[in-house]
Structures are given as structure tokens and as C-alpha cells.
């Protein structure tokens, strides 16, 4: 296959440009992943065993953790889509300085770091935090309510942190859609909603697919956000992996949990590539 690739001049050049990135990923990403596989099937005495797999997939406690991860990632992705999709259009219709300002608002948080943002949410959501104070001031509640360490709070925080990864791909795609398509649909008799559903939405699908895959992959593998916003008792695959390696000293089980995460992430990526190919 490589020989065939090298036979074509254009492909040779493409390969040369890709080489640094490919090498970096091979050494830092693929190699460690390949090491996970043998680790996941090695027992404490070094013999071959699938015991760790049986444990993860056989015990309801661990299935619950996988379910937690999937639920957290799915809900985060869903709300990021519901908020981010219209926001991308808002960005599109904003003009001049307003658009620049909105884009800065979108990019700036990306440079702050997830720990800082997650901590900021804990400050906002704790018993004596800003949100409780505001709700009391407005007379909506009498006593401070528990916000932090609840699932809604986790989703709110995660959506806030991962939202740019939904907005930006959708924006990049819808910005490419010729505005005249909407006008053409209107002159053909399509009311605004019909024009949107039949023309704009299908053409924005590649952006939705990319944004969904990004946010889901980020959320399902998030460690800091659930740890800080839900505390120790709430477990997802990434927190399980950390515990297995650092606390339980059970590398086989950590590797298995890692494999589970990898399978989930890979399925999302493969599914999105597949969908993207059939999308316009």
C-alpha cells in the first residue's frame, strides 16, 4: 500500500507534509495505546487472563460507571448542540465589531484551561456561591439549595466548557452556505421554517456531525470536570482509570477501562466519518 502511495507524486508530497504529525501521533499516542492491550490481558502473575474484562463488563457497579460516562457525554453533547447550533447562526448574522467580539468570547475561554473554568463553576455553584446568593436575592429560594455535586450542575458546567467545540465547527460550515440558497428557497414558495429544514439544516449537517463528535469525545474522556463538579463519589471511565492506576495499583483493570473508553471514542469518530461521507 505504501509503495502504491509513493508511486504517485502528489501523494508523495501529501505524505511528506503529513509525516511530522503522523510520527508524533505514532510515538506519543498509538504506541502507548498498543501497550494498553497487553497490559489489559496480563494477570498479576504475568499470565494471560480476561478477568479484568469480565469484571468491567460483568459487575453492575462498573456497568453503572460506563453508563454514567455515556449519559454525561450524551447530555453534554445534546445541550451543547441545542445552545451552540443557534449560537453559530447568531455569530453568522452578527456584523463587524460584534462578530469579532463574539469570536473573541468564544476563543478566549479556550486559552484559560479547563481546571480554572471548572473551579470557577465550583465557586459559582457552592452553598454560599454567586448563583445561590442571586436566587435568594430574587426571592426564588429562601434557603441556599444544593447545586454543586448534582448532575444538572455537572451538565451545565460541562456544556459551558465544551460549547466552543460545538459552535466553531457548525459556524465554519454554515458560514460557507450561500445565503442565496435561502432566498432561492423562498422564491420557490418555501416559508422560512421550510427553507431552513429543507436547505440550511441538511447543508449544516457536516458541522453538526463534527461538533457532536468533538464534544462527545471531549466529554466522555473528561476527568477534571466531573471530578471537580461532582466530587469523589461520582465515577466515570476516566476517574475509574485514574483510580485503578494510582490508587488501586491495578494496571490491568485500568488498561481495560482505558480500552472501553477507546472503543467508545473510536465508535464516535468512525460513526461521524461515516455520516459525514453520506452527508452533502
Amino acid at each position: 500500500m505504501i509503495a502504491a502511495l509513493l508511486a504517485n507524486r502528489e501523494k508523495r508530497i501529501a505524505l511528506a507534509f503529513l509525516a511530522p504529525a503522523v510520527l508524533l501521533l505514532l510515538v506519543l499516542f498509538v504506541l502507548p495505546l498498543l501497550l494498553l492491550l497487553p497490559a489489559s490481558i496480563r494477570g498479576a502473575d504475568g499470565s494471560f487472563t480476561l478477568a479484568a474484562y469480565a469484571r468491567l463488563l460483568g459487575e453492575s457497579y462498573y456497568l453503572g460507571i460506563i453508563w454514567n460516562s455515556l449519559k454525561f457525554a450524551s447530555l453534554t453533547t445534546l445541550f451543547a448542540f441545542l445552545i451552540g447550533y443557534p449560537a453559530a447562526f447568531g455569530l453568522l448574522y452578527a456584523r463587524g465589531w460584534l462578530r469579532s467580539l463574539l469570536l473573541i468570547c468564544l476563543f478566549l475561554p479556550l486559552s484559560v484551561g479547563v481546571i480554572v473554568k471548572a473551579f470557577a463553576w465550583t465557586v459559582l455553584l457552592r452553598r454560599d456561591g454567586l448563583v445561590n446568593a442571586a436566587l435568594q436575592l430574587l426571592g426564588i429560594i429562601d434557603e441556599p439549595i444544593r447545586l454543586i455535586f448534582t448532575e444538572p450542575a455537572l451538565i451545565i458546567g460541562a456544556v459551558n466548557i465544551f460549547l466552543p467545540f460545538m459552535i466553531l465547527p457548525v459556524y465554519a460550515v454554515v458560514a460557507q452556505i450561500d445565503r442565496r440558497l435561502g432566498e432561492a428557497a423562498a422564491t420557490l414558495g418555501a416559508p422560512p421554517l421550510t427553507a431552513f429544514l429543507r436547505v440550511i439544516f441538511p447543508l449544516s449537517l457536516p458541522g453538526i456531525i463534527a461538533g457532536t463528535a468533538l464534544v462527545f469525545a471531549l466529554a466522555v474522556s473528561a476527568y477534571v470536570v466531573p471530578t471537580l463538579l461532582m466530587g469523589e463519589r461520582y465515577q466515570t471511565l476516566p476517574t475509574l482509570i485514574t483510580k485503578a492506576f494510582l490508587l488501586a495499583r491495578d494496571p490491568a483493570f485500568g488498561a481495560v477501562a482505558g480500552m472501553a473508553l477507546l472503543v467508545i471514542a473510536l465508535s464516535v469518530v468512525l460513526l461521524s466519518t461515516r455520516l459525514n461521507r453520506s452527508a452533502p
Binding site: 450561500d178 442565496r180 432566498e183 428557497a185 422564491t187 420557490l188 414558495g189 416559508p191 422560512p192
Partner: protein
Amino acid sequence: MSAAPAAAHLDIRDVGKRFGATTVLDGITLSVAAGELITLLGPSGCGKTTLLRAIAGLALPDSGTVTVAGRDITRLPPHKRHVGVVFQNYALFPHLSVRGNVAFGLRVHGKPKTEIDGIVDRYLGLVKLAHLAERPVSALSGGQQQRVALARALAVEPTIMLFDEALSALDRKLRESMQVELRQLLRDIGATAIFVTHDQDEALTMSDRIAVMNGGRIEQCADPKTVYAAPATLFALDFVGLSSKLTGRVVEVPQRGTIIVETVAGRLTARANFAVGSPVVLATRPEYLALSDTATGENVISGRLHTTVFHGSRSMLHVDIGSGTPLAVEISGLDAPPAGNTIHLRWPVETGYVYPDPSA
């Protein structure tokens, strides 16, 4: 501006539109009869596209009314107007096939599936694309995409068809054949159509009447021959066809309707009503200037032949008559005298035009 046709199908009255401090449409009034093909001709920024968008409902005018078949549609949203538009770059739906594009309007109108297929086939046949129905539109050439856009707009049977520079993206040969074909097709189905273009050839070929637009106004609206042979304004003269111009001052009015103008090339007689002393521009078409054997006689001017450009059947002479800009003269192709010679030209009295001099 010409009188309104008897049965105005589309009636535009005093339509005005401003974008900020710029007046884009300055009280446009235009009537279009059913079955008429009209061109809005003008340079970019003259307001022609804005007027088209006001008719389609894609831009709301600030003032005035747009009426179709007696019904005021000025404030109606585009999807309720039944006004078809063929856009400059066609605006085909890239995620749909050729058939999907043509069927779009029919589906939106809720026509039954069985009927849609038949209608789509009919219109694709009309634009000779039946064999490409299942292709994605991205696989088509520019000319084919243009036909799809046309079929798509026609399929919903709009009351008026609008074409926004619809042919300008095609190469010259294809554009010329499409002009003839499109005109015939629109005639056959009895469509009322408005073309927007900056291409004078397209305007002359396609339309029953041309509205020459400039600065948000219609400078002249008449049939192509009148616009060419009797341009109402200096702008209309310059924008359609070539012209030869001389500036001067009226020195004598021998009788009503006739003036004598003093120019660098001498005194010339013209047909117009101007007061003595008025600064004017004398103009004519290059082919109305004829070579003269002698330097004497009424309306004969002399100059040095600067260059000759041979076009085959015709030759264009550029004659230096001392006014700064050479005078263009078009003659039969093989008759050109050698460059550098002094030549004599007869300035036409009846096919000469006189306009007030805008620079004076």
C-alpha cells in the same frame, strides 16, 4: 420614459430605497405588460439588482408600491409572491440532484409525488436536461446549471420571471446561444420576464424594452432600437453602443428645432431646442459618420487619421480633430485610408444627438 402598456401585469410605482445615506432607488416607476421581456440595464450600483429584489420580495422598498395583476405585493414575503428568480450563480441546492432541485418548489407547495415527477420531467425536457435528471448538480457544467436554475424557477409556474445577471457567468459563445434560446423559450411559454444585466448585447438581444438605469433612476425605457438610435440621455448614449462626441456652444438658432453649435472642428448644425449660449454635447454613433471627399459642404469636419482598427467586415477609425479625444468613425472594412492622412467627415444632422454639457 415610455407610456405604460395597456394591460400592466407588473406595476412599479415610485419605488424608493435607501441604504444609509445612499439612495439606491430614487422613485422608480415602471409598467410591464403580460408576456413582455424587459431588461434593467446599467452599471453596478445603479440600483437594478435592488429593484429586482424589491419585485421578488427579497428587499423591502422604503416607499412606493409593487403591484402584480392588480394585487399590491409590496410588503408580501417572497414565498407568497409567485415570482421566480434565476440567480447570478444559480443558487442551486448542492445537496439535491437535478430532479430534487426542480422538484423543490413543487414539494414545498405540497403537490402529490406522482404529479411532481411528470412536471419535473416536462420542465427538464424543456431545457433539454432530461437525460441528466438523477445527477448531482455539482457534476454539471455552468450552462447546464443555468438550465437547471431556469427549470427550477419555471416549474412552479411563477407569474413573473426575474433573471439577476443570469447569463453573465457563462463564457461568451455559450452566453450568446443561451440568449437566443432563452428568449425563444420564454416567448413560447408566454412568460413575463425581467432581466438585470450590465451587458448591453444581452439587453439588445433579449428584450422588448430596455430600461437604462443610472443612480437609482430610469434614464430611458424604450425598445432596443429606440434606445440605440435615439438615446434620451448622454448616459444612455454612452452605456449602449459606441459614440462619437464633440462639445460646443450654441451660437445660433436659425429656426425652432435647429441649432448651430460652435465646436473645435467648426460650426455644426443639429436638431434640438437650446438657447443661444448653451453649452452642449453633440453626439452620434460611429457608423453614422461618413467619409467625405471634400473639406467643404454642410457639416463637414476635417481631421488627421490617428489609427485604424480592422475588424473584418468593419473598420474603426480614430480621427484626431483637435478636441483631445479622437473621434470614432466606423466604415466598411476595406475602405480605410492610410493613417496620418487628413480626412473629411460628414457629421449627420438627423442622426446626431444633442445633450446639455454636464461638465459645463
